[in-house]
């Protein structure tokens, strides 16, 4: 899967912002509609951080649930993987309002 290149990008961003300081933790914000497997990122993380200021650091995943907003009645809901229809008025006219996040939010350094 694409987790190796994603993990490399996370490390590049973390190192660029850490300066010479040692990185303790990297805080990620990942929405439900951004596909990424935590365990696999952590696995690559331990491998590629060896010998860098991020060696031994932790990855923290903040998951944002997918959220849709009905364009007809304004109802906000979490879609299932079977239908995106508004559970309040059944309208199929909805838009994604949360869940596309794919960010390095912050790093903890010492």
């Amino acid at each position: 899967m694409h987790e190796l290149s994603v993990t490399q990008s996370v490390l590049d961003i973390a190192l660029a912002n850490a300066g010479a300081r040692k990185i303790k933790q990297v805080n990620l914000v990942i929405g439900q509609f951004s596909s990424i497997v935590d365990d696999s990122v952590q696995f690559y993380w331990d491998m590629i951080t060896k010998g860098t200021p991020a060696q031994g650091s932790l990855l923290h995943f903040e998951r944002i649930a997918g959220e849709m907003t009905c364009r007809r009645c304004g109802h906000v809901f979490h879609p299932t993987d079977e239908t995106f229809d508004c559970p309040s008025c059944s309208s199929p006219l909805v838009k994604i309002s949360k869940g596309e996040e794919f960010q390095v939010d912050s790093i903890d350094v010492e």
Binding site: M1, H2, S5, V6, S9, V10, D12, I13, N17, A18, R21, K24, Q25, N27, L28, F33, S34, S35, G66, M68, P79, T80, D81, E82, T83, F84, D85, P92, L93, V94, K95, I96, E100, F102, Q103, V104, D105, S106, I107, D108, V109, E110
Partner: protein, 221 residues
Amino acid sequence: MTTRIPIVENILSANDRIADRNRVLLDEKGVYSINIMASPGAGKTSFILKTLEALKGRLKLGVIEGDLATSIDAEKAMAAGLPAVQINTGGGCHLDAVMLADALPALPLSDLDLVLVENVGNLVCPANFQIGTHLNVLIASIPEGDDKPYKYPGMYRGVQVLIINKTDLMPYVTFNMSYFIKGVEALNPDVTIFPVSCKSGEGMDAWADWLTEKVRAGNQG
């Protein structure tokens, strides 16, 4: 003591910057480009071959091959008189912007109208990685089932064109077209949809005409 440094940067921002550079290069050369993505078995290879056939004589075409598993052989494309480049993804699951940046100079861009990029066959990864093409195209197919937009929202979200292939199988497969389209349009209200059958050729003209218009308009602007 631990200090928190706020960053708030998109994880793939470096990739996206390179993608932007690819698009600038293509624009400078007056070349339009499309990125063709699909799940395995959607009929990507035959769709691309049919597209090349339909556009031959109308547009000057080049091909970039990113899919080792099901690709139209780069040599086959070259034998048909088309300049082609094969990208070795090293078993990777998607093309990224750097791979395209490396491949583009191998094509005679100044002589081309359209570059067609065949991405790796997979419904999860390619959607995350912009490569710098003007148009992202997804091929879905009837036998894959009508629930795909609900299962792979990211992929359906990131494309401008959706090809629904194998429409000749509609009578034989349970596929609720309106349920499928409803899921697609919730995620992506602006998407342009072309139902086609690579087998019978149905719908291919409409797609080829639309793309030709798009390329000509793009190259003028």
